[in-house]
Structures are given as structure tokens and as C-alpha cells.
Symmetry: C2
Subunit: 210 residues, 2 copies
DNA sequence: ATATTTAATTACCAATCGGTACATAAATTA
DNA sequence: TAATTTATGTACCGATTGGTAATTAAATAT
């Protein structure tokens, strides 16, 4: 089944996906500027010329590591976005985020939200990519809340855009909390409090939900 | 009147406070790792030996620049904490933050919240100082909300600790929003939404849930 | 076997990093 | 004026930065 046409020259001694996983964890934990190519080559166990041949440059390696990160983390996000109600979307999203942001075997916080927030000019391209991803996340929330609004789910005065920015802001704040040492339990308590005061619903409806 | 005893040797050609202001803006915008001593010496218009003689090291310069930042930004925070009710505390704090984080002539976002979130091992001491400052801010909020609770202001089920973490998290998220290009108006709309759903405000309705 | 293709290895590049030695300039004190 | 004190300017330090040239090793194709 796995008969992928042997390539011609000397075979690679590393698996690109595994190498990207290692690069991802380093960039995730230490950021773009805080991670040197020397650290990367040692952790990935690849010589520098091989690494450059495979991934192009430090900047490109970061972008590929970011895509790898999104592949692994976007699953529970897109799953949450498919929940039947806006409330359940936020519930799933934030509760799962509280856990994701405090995984024991992974860096704390979200790679997209924490990366290159303040950085030198050399890191500007990477910074722009991360900003775009943050906006993309908020746009996905907006789209989902607009649907909820069309389905008559939200209260009259509630703006879908404000709601999307509210959830995105909470998610980003939770990343800083996690990176600053907040425990999983503390984040979960925070999320439960947010859910108990969810703006999209009236108190009476909230009572029925639980 | 300003008869401050002339020092003995050759006089400094720079004002330490003005120099710190410049260093602060650079570190604020580009972070600790993203700002080089070469950039600093040029922007501050001080030779490297003079800079080292005056401020010790890059790490120490950052810490002094941070203290300078706090001196300038902590005023509206401590003023907000003295508002008569918890609601007004949050109102003043977040509305003023929305403006502070989007000043036109200053870097976007909060230097404490955005600095060294992910960084290399060399920046670890600076990272720890920033984490401590974030915790200090949340602790000040906690203290204020505990007072509000003692004054019978909050509903029975509301934990002051959760409330403090909620506001701190929002403030941190707003910093990322500002750093990612969010406008002042968008942040103000967000804050107004948060205030409209402030847990202590509609106490009677929310009390039904728990 | 030989040629060809591709990767690994070693050694190296100019540029920049944070930090300093050394000599000089400008002030006060004696 | 001479001695002392402090800051300045120049020139430099070893280490590290991201990135490569050139050679060798290991596979397939002819």
C-alpha cells in the first residue's frame, strides 16, 4: 500500500513531519526570535545544510511549523464551531481551549496568539502571518455568530461582531494567562464564569440550558 | 532654586529620564530580544560605553525602562481601582485601557502583557519580571473585588478571584487585539459589551442559575 | 561496473550580538 | 596652574547569528 516510488538519490535520514513537530515545539515555546537555527538543528537532529535544503530558510521553517501547529490544534476549534447553538460553540471552544492551553507535554498558551507580539523588524513577516491567523479565527467566529443571529438565537441588541471579538479576546487573554503560569483549573473556572454570563442569551434561557 | 550640587567630573550630555523614555518605546514596540543595543544607542543618542556606565546592562536597562513605563501608565490604573463600586472600577479601567492600548504616538498594546511571552532562555529573567507584574495587577484587582464582596456588592456565587482573573484576562486579550491592529472604537465597543453583562450588575437574574 | 542523483558532513562566511579597554575631553577641587 | 574626577569617542573583543561552498556518502538507473 505504502508503495511511494523510491526517490533516486541518497534517502533522507529524517522524517519531515517529525522534524516539523520538533521545530513547532521550539518556536511555540521560545518564539521566532528566541529560537536559533543552531537550537533547531540540534533538536531536530538535522545538519544545517540538510535543514536548509528541506525547509528553505528560518522564516519558511517557521511558517511550515505554524501550518503543522494549525493542523494539530484546529480540529477541536472547527469541531466547536459546528455545535448547534452559539452558546455551545463558545462552551466547547473555551473549555477545550482551557485544556489545550495548559497541556503538560506542550508549551503553555497558543502559538498563534503569543508569537511575535513585539519583535524586531527582521521578524515582521512572521508577525504579519500570525496577525492574519488571529483575524482569521475571529472571522470564523463572526461567521458562526452571524448564522446564530439569523437563526434568531441572539438577543436583539447583541452584535455578532462584538461577540466574536469578545470570544477572540478572551481566548487571547487566556493564552497570556497560561503563559504566565495560570493553572488549567483556574482557566476552567474563568470559562465557567464567562459562560454563566454569556451575553447572547437571557438569564432565563441560561437557566434552561443547564 | 534648582541648586543641585554640581557633580565633579565631566557632565553627562544626556538626560537619564529622556533616554529611558526612548529605551522604553523601543522595548515596548520591539520587545527585549527584538531590540539590539545598537538600536538603543542610536535612538537614545548615547555611546555604548556611556550607556553601559549609566544603566549597567541590556537586562538592567530593560528593567529600568519597565519601571519608567509603569510610572507613566499605572496612574489611570490606580485611579480606577479607587472608584466607589466594583462596576465603576472595571468601567474606568477597561475604557481607559481601550484608549491607552491604542494611543497613536505610542506602541500598541501593553508593554507588560505583550513582552517576552515566548522567548529564548537568555530573556528568561526579563520574562519572569513581566510575569510578576501581570500577577501583581491581577492581585490588585483581587484585593479590590474582595473589598467589594465584603461591602455586599457582589452576588453570593461570585468569586472575587474569578472576577479578578476575568478582568485581567480581558485586559491581556485587549493588548493582543491592539497589537494585532484592532481600532480604539472596536475595543471600546467590546468593553461596553463586557460592562453591559457585568456579573455584579444583573445580580437577581443570574442568581437563578446557581 | 559506472554514471547519476540526492543527502550528509565539515568547514566556513560576513554580519551582528552584548559588552569593554583605552585614550581623550570637560568639568571641579586644590 | 596642576591634579582629580567623570563622561565621551574610537576601536575592538569573543561569541553567536542566519546561511553556504565544497566534499563525501548512499541510493538508483543504465
Amino acid at each position: 500500500m505504502e508503495e511511494t516510488r523510491r526517490s533516486r538519490g541518497r534517502p533522507s535520514q529524517f522524517d519531515a513531519q517529525i522534524a516539523l513537530e520538533t521545530a513547532m515545539e521550539l518556536f511555540w515555546a521560545q518564539g521566532y526570535e528566541g529560537t536559533s537555527m543552531a537550537e533547531l538543528t540540534e533538536a531536530m537532529n538535522i545538519n544545517k545544510p540538510s535543514l536548509y535544503a528541506a525547509f528553505g530558510s528560518k522564516e519558511n521553517l517557521f511558517k511550515l511549523a505554524l501550518e503543522h501547529y494549525l493542523k494539530g490544534s484546529i480540529s477541536f476549534i472547527s469541531a466547536a464551531l459546528q455545535a448547534p447553538t452559539a452558546y455551545e460553540v463558545v462552551q466547547q471552544l473555551l473549555l477545550n481551549s482551557a485544556r489545550f492551553l495548559t497541556q503538560e507535554d506542550k508549551p503553555a498558551g497558543c502559538m498563534v496568539n503569543l508569537g511575535s507580539l513585539s519583535c524586531g523588524k527582521e521578524a515582521a513577516p512572521v508577525q504579519q502571518v500570525l496577525i492574519a491567523r488571529r483575524k482569521q479565527f475571529e472571522a470564523a467566529l463572526l461567521q458562526r455568530f452571524e448564522r446564530a443571529q439569523a437563526e434568531g438565537e441572539l438577543t436583539a441588541g447583541t452584535q455578532a461582531a462584538d461577540l466574536a471579538k469578545y470570544v477572540a479576546t478572551l481566548h487571547q487573554g487566556m493564552s497570556i494567562q497560561a503563559a504566565s503560569g495560570a493553572s488549567r483549573e483556574a482557566l476552567e473556572a474563568l470559562v465557567n464564569m464567562v459562560l454563566a454570563n454569556w451575553p447572547g442569551k437571557k438569564a432565563a434561557e441560561l437557566h434552561l440550558e443547564n
